[in-house]
């Protein structure tokens, strides 16, 4: 890990000094480019109260290429698939090197507040969202309870 670009070190330093509210970022496995993220579900969304796990990796080409990021917690969301992959323009063609880990995570948090069933990654979920939004939101709330709230209570060594 000799050649870690300054840009990455600076971002990590700032994340530690000035953390994003509701988002925890920790490096893992002695790989300075690999992070565990815990994201709080935004209020007034079906994800409220949940603490969601993600993993984020800065590829060799970063910041010319976007970070790779996915949810590890099971999500009921039209733009997140069963493997936790996220459909978000800034993670693909709308990426700009001016964006940072911080902005990416905030955008993902915003995506939780504003699901976009017209640009789906999980088709079955998007269909549900379009045909019966109320039921879809109810399912998302139940999944949050089951996979992002109760699991933490079962693992008391992980402080909520």
């Amino acid at each position: 890990m000799a050649d870690v670009p300054k840009r990455i070190l600076k971002e990590i330093e700032r994340l530690n000094r000035d953390p994003v509210p509701g988002i925890e970022v920790n490096t893992i496995e002695d790989n300075i480019r690999y992070f565990n993220v815990i994201m709080c579900g935004p209020s007034k969304s079906p994800y409220e109260g949940g603490r969601f796990k993600l993993e984020l990796f800065l590829p060799e080409e970063y910041p010319m290429s976007p970070p790779k990021v996915r949810f590890l917690t099971k999500m009921y969301h039209p733009n997140i698939d069963k493997l936790g992959r996220i459909c978000l323009d800034i993670l693909k063609d709308k990426w700009s090197p001016a964006l940072q880990i911080r902005t990416v995570l905030l955008s993902i948090q915003a995506l939780l507040s504003a699901p976009n069933p017209d640009d789906p990654l999980a088709n079955d979920v998007a269909d549900q969202w379009k045909t019966d939004e109320k039921l879809a939101i109810q399912t998302a709330t139940e999944w949050t309870q089951k996979y992002a709230i109760e699991v933490w209570a079962k693992n008391p060594e992980v402080k909520p």
């Binding site: 790989n31 993993e55 990796f57 590829p59 590890l72 069963k82 493997l83 936790g84 992959r85």
Partner: protein
């Protein structure tokens, strides 16, 4: 060298596998599309022309544990095959006997394992009588330990 973590490496391999639609003699994907740990992979190899495997389709199971790609995947033929390097009772492949795979490197991929198996099918030592078409190994393959 930037080390790509296991999960992102497997996601890349999955994408490559999804893109390669009917392009060749092999295909692969996740065995369980909801398994976010991406342990078990299922693959198909089309037997190469002019070999005893011609016109046969071989199903293969690959298991990438938490140490992949530092450690090679475990590989089993599900479809019965008579070929050196494959255990005749269980279908398990001994990668150390497969050319190009005998010294595993983290840069090797699932696709390269399948290529090496396909290449093995074309070798002289593999010109052997084969079991009935479409017969499969009836064995229990122990699940690798999954972190809870």
């Amino acid at each position: 060298m930037v080390e790509v973590p296991r999960n992102f490496r497997l996601l890349e391999e999955l994408e490559q596998g999804e893109k390669a639609t009917s392009a060749g003699y092999c295909s692969y994907g996740l065995a369980d599309l909801e398994d976010s740990l991406m342990y078990n992979w299922t693959a198909l190899i089309l037997g190469p022309l002019n070999t005893p495997f011609e016109n046969r389709l071989y199903q293969v199971l690959l298991r990438c544990d938490e140490n992949y790609p530092k450690v090679a995947p475990k590989v089993w033929f599900i479809t019965q095959i008579n070929m050196p390097g494959v255990n005749q009772k269980t279908g398990e492949v001994d990668l150390s006997t497969i050319e190009y795979m005998n010294k595993w490197k983290p840069s090797y991929t699932i696709h390269m394992v399948l290529e090496a198996l396909s290449e093995k099918m074309t070798r002289k030592e593999s010109r052997l009588p084969q079991p009935d078409k479409n017969s499969t190994y009836k064995v229990i393959r122990p699940d690798s330990k999954k972190p809870e």
